[in-house]
Symmetry: C2
Subunit: 375 residues, 2 copies
């Protein structure tokens, strides 16, 4: 019998952050695609759109006028998914299986840049640093508010990912509860740190091992030739994780030391973060020569450490290791996406190319944006 | 302070089958939608399409010709996600966090009807019973094959849900591994049955309580007026579960006795199953007067009981209680869907109307298909 070949033989891999499996069926990309194709992403946007509710000076749905901002702008979402505390207590559950937990908090929108037609992939280093600073500000402001126990920074990019306005922006939802997925990740990080003897990778608080430090140390070190790394700089690496679900999923994380959140970054680490964000989003656009759709989320400490906190390395909440997930749907071209439906929704995620194949395709792409080359 | 009102106050509910939360933000439907709209579902399909690889007598991608079938047709997928056993053993893991588990099995396609232009919503009782019989046949055939430990029956309906051919059909993926989601459901059913004292609801094997029997007994009984039931007949009920994620998600299940799988259905229960499948899919089409897209999956015993099995009520594998999940994306109209993206992918599913509101809208719809009324 032939030896096991991950590019031929279907197999499952485990995501140690969530405990979930992914079914890898690499031979499946060969099938013809007769299904839905996506409309092309609009690429001829004006620099300013008088009808855009995020452009400087324009009026939003709620009636307020935007500042004539020059860099970034933050405002509270007019249609927030959660409302500010205090709210009423929940009624008693009508049955032990039917529990209600009130959630409070706030939702912010963060405009990345005044120009309507730009995206992260087309912004310069200085502009991206301003966005990171703004993320830190919101994380600090919201994360220290009474009753807030979790801050989720994310971006939906592209109509395909439910984004209702192409103006470059992201969101921040701050909640009284730690949501399911980060709660699971944090529990698994904590379990790992308590049960796994430290390796020669950087360590988390209390000198214990960190799942993500261990993983990334392996990927940029001995596993370098296995080819999941897409791009790497002095402090950060972008890789297609071993357990990736989306065709060109990327995880972005610092690899030189254990870093619990964006407020823990040094200036050099922040610059390197801006640089790699640019390199990842440029490569994404270059893959199919389009404005590449994705959802992106930052996972880190649920909220920043309090000012009177116990020493950093004694604080078990610091088991979190800062990382970003990029979940992009496109599979074969600018118009053919992967649908995570039927089997994926009812049984388990399934992917059609190996993470190593995806990383190889992203790695060889130029790091200059295709629109800047054509000029 | 106002009393807690689930249609006003954001809150979280727990899905006891998975342990996951959903964030309910009912006030959010008020926001204007400026994002992507879906193309209309094609409604002028021919009864026979010479280019369709599922129509009777036509040739498939793999080169084989379809029978001139009159009712249902089953064939092995030409682009299966898993391959038949035996496959090679996996290589040793390069790192404890990076494990590979080979998966083997087979993927079948099940055509529901020879007519290219019909769907479950437009088939009669006799035709739907034939589909249920075919599901049972495949479940029995695949589920008793050497090395198969799980059979997943599902349907992707509509281009929006990644279905590449409108000809009415579903799929069956049979695997050597129990996938993540059903494994979690089964573990939770088992845990519940061992730890929860029996109520006056029907009971599972060993006279123990069953999570779904308890839940559905409550919904069709004392909670009747809370309004999550959409339609009910002598043996089955369709309801929007307390923990629904998708806007008009439905769970379909038998409520009169504990039933581990489709092979355990009596004739009367099978007829009632066909009837309720018709009623649910008709209501779905009637909601926005369109061919309603969804993913549907059957959850039950991973494989049918072996012929030399221990007595039914002694078999702990019978903790499974047969149920179907319908995951439909449309939210506001035939062209405006809910995107489960950013926050949902990175943190936790979020919904914009309460399950009770969704059920109320589905409940009042006529049970005659809108296309049959217009004639
Ligand atoms: O097999 P199909 O219908 O061509 O493919 C569809 O269903 C599969 C199973 O849910 C998914 O993996 C595919 O992404 C989807 O397009
Ligand atoms: O807030 P937006 O961008 O209008 O809405 C988008 O992102 C939200 C958060 O991921 C989702 O709940 C919505 O379904 C999606 O359309």
């Amino acid at each position: 019998m032939a030896d096991f070949d991950p590019t031929t033989h279907p197999h499952r891999r485990v995501n140690p952050l969530t405990g979930e499996h992914v079914l890898v069926s690499p031979h499946r990309t060969k099938r013809p695609w007769l299904g839905q194709t996506e409309p092309p992403q609009q690429s001829d946007l004006p620099e300013y759109d008088p009808k855009c509710y995020l452009c400087p000076g324009n009026t939003r749905a709620g009636g307020q006028a935007n500042e004539k901002y020059e860099h970034t702008m933050v405002f509270e979402n007019d249609y927030a998914a959660v409302l500010p505390p205090p709210g009423p207590a929940a009624p008693p559950a009508p049955h032990p299986l039917l529990t209600t937990e009130p959630v409070e908090g706030g939702c912010d929108v963060l405009c990345f840049h005044p120009r309507h037609d730009l995206t992260l992939a087309r912004l310069g280093q200085a502009d991206i640093i301003r966005i990171i600073d703004e993320w830190s500000n919101v994380y600090k402001k919201r994360g220290t508010q009474q009753g807030i126990n979790y801050v989720q920074i994310f971006e939906n990019k592209g109509a395909m990912m439910g984004c209702s306005n192409p103006h470059p922006h992201g969101q921040v939802w701050s909640l009284s509860a730690v949501p399911s997925l980060p709660a699971t990740e944090l529990a698994n990080l904590k379990k790992y740190s308590r049960s796994t003897p430290p390796s020669d990778a950087p360590k988390g608080p209390l000198g214990r091992s960190c799942l993500l430090c261990d993983y990334v140390h392996f990927e940029v070190g001995v596993a370098r030739d296995e080819g999941r790394v897409v791009v790497q700089n002095d402090h950060w690496v972008a890789l297609v994780p071993w357990w990736a679900i989306w065709p060109f999923e990327i995880m972005l994380l610092p690899y030189k030391r254990h870093i619990p959140s964006i407020v823990h970054l040094t200036q050099a680490e922040k610059s390197a973060f801006a640089e790699i964000l640019s390199q990842v989003t440029i490569r994404y656009d270059n893959l199919f020569s389009c404005s590449f759709a994705y959802s992106m989320g930052i996972h880190q400490r649920p909220t920043p450490p309090a000012s009177d906190a116990i020493p950093e390395d004694q604080d078990e909440d610091n088991v979190a290791h800062l990382h970003l997930h990029f979940a992009p749907p496109l599979l074969r071209s600018a118009s053919v996406r992967k649908f995570l439906v039927g089997f994926e929704l009812m049984a388990e995620p399934q992917r059609d190319l190996t993470p190593e194949q995806a990383a190889a395709r992203l790695r060889i792409l130029p790091d200059v944006h295709y629109l800047n080359v054509q000029k």
